[in-house]
Symmetry: C2
Subunit: 128 residues, 2 copies
DNA sequence: ATTGACTTGTACGTAAAGGTCAATTAGTTT
DNA sequence: AAACTAATTGACCTTTACGTACAAGTCAAT
């Protein structure tokens, strides 16, 4: 069950460019294997890319994403580090909760605008 | 009742720089009054800035924010424009729903990481 | 053997969203 | 009046996250 994905397979699936995936590798986010010089992506790489892109969608920077990825690769063993990490997690959580609030508010606003549009459309429809 | 806000008042309140507010003016997002050369912000400007920053937090570009702001200033009157606008609204809504999902998933992930941290901390605490 | 699809690395370019610095100007304390 | 203070415009600078172009190598199919 050693299915490998080529780089273009993944770019097609995720709608990103090869440049993007290579960039992520340069940035140390992913480490695909190599056969000669060409990259071979495994299922784990694929999942990681999914997570990276999810992070990207919600506005995480590369540095932030890398931070999370690192934690998965090797969770800190030292007390101080752990506490620091937990503080960072708490901050992120607050950040995300705010964003969710922002999104909810904006969704409501969009509903309002849409309704205004519909009203307007009805007016025009009647008028003509 | 003509309370005016100075630019620094607002930068302090919102935690942005004067450069940012001027930039938003250059970009046509806000139009504060002037007394001589200095900007005078009214309550409406203040609220608009709040909305702009909310848009910024959820990852809207300046162009997207401007688009929304424009709609508020002068909603399109023509049929085609209205339909186009409604399509754009639908797209944005989809976008935001996806982001919400991303955020929820990430929040769960953060919970997991935190729990792992706590477990680890307990181990260390016991071990020493 | 050549075409075409895919891959590589290197390197320069770019758009977005401001940061930073300089040189004023205007009002107001001392 | 001199010195502060807060505001202005303008110009250039910076970072992030890739885009784009180029030259070159791999491999299968025609």
């Amino acid at each position: 069950m050693h299915k490998y994905y080529s780089i273009t397979e993944l770019t097609r699936e995720f709608g990103v460019s090869t440049r993007t995936l290579r960039f992520y590798e340069d940035e140390g986010l992913i480490h695909p294997e190599r056969r000669g010089r060409t990259r071979l992506f495994r299922a784990a790489d694929r999942r990681l890319i999914q997570e990276i892109l999810r992070g990207r969608r919600i506005g995480f920077t590369i540095a932030e994403i890398r931070e999370i990825v690192q934690v998965y690769k090797e969770p800190p063993g030292e007390m101080g580090q752990l506490k620091l990490l937990m503080k960072r997690i708490d901050e992120k959580r607050e950040d995300l909760r705010q964003k969710r609030k922002d999104i909810d508010e904006t969704l409501i606003e969009l509903d309002n605008v849409e309704e205004a549009c519909l009203t307007r459309l009805a007016e025009i429809g009647v008028g003509t």
